[in-house]
Symmetry: C2
Subunit: 412 residues, 2 copies
């Protein structure tokens, strides 16, 4: 028996309806922010991803040699592809250039609960401006994405990598060691890194300070002041303080981040609770140009899991009308009703199997139709339709035009 | 320089907006027909596709061994995957089961104009009923898909494979040779196949007959009568006769088709003019069960090309409002306007780079904004906003609440 590949999913009609509603929500929101959608190929030259994330990434990639001898990989994320596409064909577009994307990404890893080998990402890139206003716009959209899909229990952690950079420099630590130290902060191996770099309790103390204290301690407090400017702007955007936490220990794991960074955790997801991450980065090195960009990526599957845990999934639509023609002589008239309703975007189906009324009503019930429309000889003669309300069981006969008008007014 | 892989595309914001509008159109239409969306993984076990289409298909597949030693292929189309998913997890759903899908498929072949290695398909499956009504529903949806996206010059060719099967049987030709003969009809090698099977002019004459003539000639005219029943139903569905052609030479290339089949050609596409194909098939053999299904697949990229040739691509939306704060003291108020407009789904952006008014207006113009909103000290004081109409150049100052109300009423 041929089954679906390990670690992948078939998304059934209920799941797809839920996902499309949440996707539409994110799409409308990003559009209202002036972002526009782009799409890159599902696969890229493997080199694009190793240049972005280092050679070890190949261990997690679906990659292979194509029939032309190219080393090709299914994308593990979109950012590298978007910047590649920008460099290849969109450099002439006016800046700021605001882009969003939505689609599947792939990684070969051990499948676990909520982690799939094909998973979906929604994300954005804001290419061009290197200002506090652009950082705030980026964070405000990320916050609103989570808020707009109706997630309630989440925390947005914000930092500026340049604050820690400044702290390390002022403590005579070679900036080249930055990633090593950040990596350990990420894993909360603070004692180990403090010992290794002879920082005593300095690092831990610094991480626990308020921004004003940091400003006082640093010889050059500019990075702290920059973050404060971003936070002031976020107040103008109406971000609710209860979701917001300044956390200088939020460092993202990757070398191309350079300034303000942030992550969003969903409280109900346990150990793997991060649903969104982003910040200020520069991937220009890969292409030999300077491309400042601010963006984020949202894990679509994990966000849906968090919503589900909060009981906040959007409701599924009911089907509207199921037409049951009784006898061949009512066919033509039944199809006339079918056409009229469908032309008004009323979800309408018709018995295709010539079932008896009882069985046909059973099908309408199992498929969540609001109304069954019974159409026999009398209805043909009167140009009427007999409507059975599938919830209440009530039944009445009314003129066809009246019914179509009613439905159109009520639902459109 | 790392570029996109050969034969693939980056879809820019204008292209994506066009594509999403057409996709939404197809989605709404299929939903009104009672179809619901499903999605299968981007890759499958290669065996699924070789069992469906024969071993030669691997020459056109992107396939590879994954890290677990499985032979995996990017899907070349959706039907095999949908039936696999149905068999694996949806067999209990009530029949008829009406499904649609939309997504990318992949084939390794020489890239040509309008043919890409990653291409997009929209399609449907109607699983369960084996009736003329179901065939008609399937064809009616296919027709309306093409009609609804506003393509004007197209031809829908309809046939019933059982008519030719009957003709071959009555001419003492082994039904096992069916695919060989159909393959040649497809390629219009009619003389060759007529000679090979000693049919003289019989085959060519038969293909040119009206349905009533065929009915008279065949000993068992049932397949002709069935097709006539489907055509009568299509009249009830309101299909325009000018687009419809009965063509018994429409045979589809594949063994699993068994009854009514059809194709749609876009007149303006030249040699590669087919944009949709489908019919009545049974893929149950692969899974050892009986699954009658009627469906079609529409080439999304080629359909868009046909629309473009007819000058019928949907219009792109304009951006709505671009806010230009003049001086830091107008920031807070500017962001208040930004939030209010965005919360009403008005596409609103704000200068993120601190540009002067002239440059900022230039950006608003290049990005197709309808209005630029100038916000300086006076506007902050009066709770007003100065609006520049980017088309006419007219400028006026009105109360902020009045403007928001106006915009909300006009655009929502």
């Amino acid at each position: 028996m041929i089954e679906r590949p390990r670690g992948t999913r078939d998304l059934d009609p209920d799941e797809m309806e839920t996902r499309r509603k949440i996707e539409q929500n994110l799409r409308d929101l990003s559009t209202s922010f002036g972002y526009r959608e782009i799409l890159t190929p599902t696969f890229e030259h493997t080199e694009l991803f190793t240049k972005k994330s280092g050679p070890d990434i190949v261990n997690e990639l679906y990659h292979f040699e194509d029939k032309g001898g190219r080393d090709i990989a299914l994308r593990p994320e979109f950012t590298a592809s978007v910047i590649r596409a920008y460099n290849e064909g969109m450099r002439e577009l006016p800046k700021p250039l605001k882009l969003f994307y939505f689609g599947p990404s792939f990684r070969y890893e051990r499948p676990q609960s909520g982690r799939y080998r094909e998973f979906w990402q929604f994300g954005t890139e804001l290419i061009g401006p290197d200002t506090a206003r652009a950082d705030a716009e980026n964070i405000a959209l990320a916050y609103n994405c989570v808020k707009n899909i109706r997630l309630d229990e989440f925390e947005l952690r914000v930092s500026n990598l340049k604050i820690l950079d400044q702290f390390l420099q002022e403590n005579d630590i070679d900036i080249e060691k930055r990633q090593d130290i950040y990596h350990k902060i990420d894993k909360e191996e603070l004692e180990e890194v403090s010992e290794e770099y002879s920082l005593g309790s300095k690092l831990l103390d610094f991480l626990n300070m308020e921004l004003d204290e940091m400003s006082n301690i640093l010889k050059d407090p500019e990075p702290v002041e920059y973050l404060k400017e971003v936070l002031d702007l976020l107040e103008y955007y109406g971000l609710d303080e209860k979701h917001l936490k300044v956390d200088i220990g939020t460092v993202r794991g990757l070398d191309y981040y350079k300034g303000v960074v942030f992550e969003i955790d969903a409280d109900n997801l346990g150990a793997e609770k991060q649903i969104l991450g982003g910040g200020d980065y520069n991937l220009g090195d890969i292409f030999g140009i300077d491309i400042s960009s601010k963006g984020f990526a949202m894990g679509f599957d994990r966000s849906i899991l968090a919503l589900e845990n909060e009981g906040k999934l959007p409701e599924l639509d009911e089907m509207d009308c199921y037409i049951i023609p009784i006898g061949e002589e009512s066919f033509e008239y039944s199809y006339e009703i079918l056409r009229e309703l469908r032309s008004k975007n009323v979800i309408t189906d018709i018995d295709l199997m010539g079932r008896g009324v009882g069985k046909a009503l059973g099908y309408a019930d199992k498929n969540d139709f609001k109304y069954a429309l019974l159409v026999g000889g009398n209805e043909v003669e009167d140009k009427s339709v007999t409507i059975k309300d599938m919830h209440s069981g009530d039944q009445k006969t009314i003129g066809k035009d009246e019914f179509v008008r009613e439905v159109d007014e009520k639902w459109n």
